[in-house]
Symmetry: C2
Subunit: 359 residues, 2 copies
């Protein structure tokens, strides 16, 4: 087991990464202020891991209630959030009752937002069971639900007290979701870690084959990168925005195609290729760089071609992005492989070169 | 104009209290990161003060949009919150667009929660127009909406960047609401400020007559008390709970009678008398103390008799209170006039003596 730490003064917290950690409920105890916890999970994860976690907690004397939600990004909304609130209230959960997210990014985001807002905030613990959640969404305290007009529009910055990453849970992860998680892993290489990008070029096949050692390394290295960025810029006033490489395009794709049809990681993959092409149009990347990036995503089995929904529709959806400032859209682009920056001076012409003209 | 400060290190903020401040939009400017703001108000306050505020802002070069909500505690819910989100999204409000609450406690609570959660948090400004909001709810960063199972169950701690209290707005406040606000003013005397309680005994008639000097003093003194408590215990892990004197009973009353039928301040008044009687049962207050407290609330024109809904119903509603810890209800009681404490060892027998037996 490796343990990293997210340094946020009095809100610092550990990330434990290893095998068979679901059985090791003693790791969770320090984050539980009372002998009761509410586990939020979904209908896919519950049959696989819920009993194992509850039994492990019970052995430590922790009573738990379970809230089982429908699975999928399309359920990351107010109605589902209310199912959590209702269960917490009906089960008399208190300010000291921790909420434990057991699942992927959707479960982490929505139950984190529930934890941030139930009784004005209760303790929160992340047990991510997808690669995407393990390398990205479980770390850093972004919580949210979607609004019909845009993804993650309603949310809060609310840090967990602990992240427990059991790599074994990836054994049951569908192939498509594994690949979607790899998109966020590649992201860290692209924005700030060239040696990791090179490592990924050499080890992408091992990751796809779920080699435990390769997965453990990729998860730790991703979390190290994320923890460093979050420690320096928790509320995304600067550097943290770089973690959104491909996300402005990606959110537009997810929204346009209907939440849940493209997985988040798939949309980020296609969005990252758009960001790379935009960087090329701006003269920041070479054609060889772009080819190298496309090639890695292709080898990961991820979509490298964004859907053709027309320039106007893209612009309309991206104007809703949270990074818009004084009406200007801001894009994360690449200076080089391993170095990203934010630009707000992107012309419509430049965008039309990567998004195509109107249908 | 007097200016107080709530000391919360990098989130400290000023409270300006005075006459004709709605015209002085230059006071708001330092809290606005961009030249656009979203004003949230209600159908009662809008015809009185919205144009005045918007014109004052416009003179300072600030464009504003207005979100006008239905009036009343019964609208402090998710549906109304969504009206705010919809308007913010439709008007392309960004992370730097401040939300300005213009109204009473309901407007402050719901728009504060919108500010805490829209795009994971945007700048927030309070312009309270009721006495209750001016002396209590606009200061300290508690935001919330109600859940069908309990008041303020969903919310966040989210501090404003500025509180602008224009005493002149009290001239249009209905008599009943003025009195409801006085309940929270008396609270500060009871829990931590005996000299202020004595001042209130001497000046209660001036307050009811809206004497501007008396109102200005009562508002400033209340805010000083609140600011001190909040600075020491922002998230209510200790001392801040004392500000909830009468509120555990009061919330049960509001809920039982249907939100909006008893005003919050009225329920707090009756709840405070219950807390005083409970303190008497516990041998902490003398009968004379209780009479003195009842007398001041009576002179303020506030209800001193709680509705008789039966012990079981009270217990059931109070079990939902946010202050419940390890299944134990916690009550704010009075050691003396001017000194409060929290007790979690209150027997059912003691409660039955003040809440009556079952119907």
């Amino acid at each position: 087991m490796r343990t990293l730490k997210v340094e946020l003064s009095d809100r610092s917290y550990p990330i434990h990464i290893g095998s068979n950690l679901l059985e090791k409920a003693e790791l969770i105890l320090p984050a539980l202020p009372q002998r009761k916890a509410a586990i939020v999970t979904n209908m896919t994860v519950a049959p696989l891991y819920l009993d194992r976690l509850r039994n492990a907690l019970e052995k430590q004397g922790i009573e738990s209630i379970a809230v089982i939600l429908p699975d999928g990004e399309q359920h990351k909304n107010w109605e589902t959030l209310n199912l959590i609130y209702d269960a917490l209230l009906e089960n008399r959960c208190e300010r000291n009752t921790a909420i434990v997210a057991l699942g992927g990014g959707v479960i982490g985001d929505i139950s984190g937002f529930a934890a941030a807002t139930y009784l004005r905030g209760v303790p929160f613990i992340q047990i991510p069971t997808t690669l995407l959640a393990q390398v990205d969404s479980s770390v850093g305290g972004k919580t949210a639900i979607n609004h019909p007009l845009g993804k993650n529009m309603i949310g809060a910055f609310y840090q967990p007290r602990l992240v427990l990453t059991d790599i074994d849970t990836l054994n049951t992860l569908p192939e498509r979701e594994l690949k979607a998680g790899i998109a966020e892993v590649i992201k860290y290489g692209l924005i700030r870690d060239l040696p990791f990008f090179v490592w990924l070029e050499e080890n992408i096949d091992k990751l796809k084959a779920r080699d435990p050692e390769a997965l453990g390394y990729a998860i730790s290295r991703s979390c190290e990168n994320k923890a460093e960025v979050v420690a320096r810029d928790e509320k995304e006033t600067g550097e943290r925005a770089l973690l959104n490489l491909g996300h402005t395009f990606g959110h537009a794709i997810e929204n346009a195609m209907g939440y849940g049809n493209w997985l988040h990681g798939e949309a980020v993959a296609a969005g990252t290729i758009l960001a790379a092409r935009l960087s090329r149009v701006l003269g920041m990347l070479s054609e060889d760089d772009v080819k190298r990036i496309v090639s890695l995503f292709e080898r990961a089995g991820l979509p490298v071609q964004a859907p053709e929904i027309g320039l106007e529709r893209y612009l309309q959806l991206m104007e809703l992005d949270k990074k818009v400032e004084e009406g200007k859209m801001r894009f994360v682009v690449l200076d080089a492989i391993g170095r990203a920056c934010v630009r707000s001076d992107i012309s419509r012409e430049a965008l039309s070169k990567v998004l195509g003209s109107d249908a």
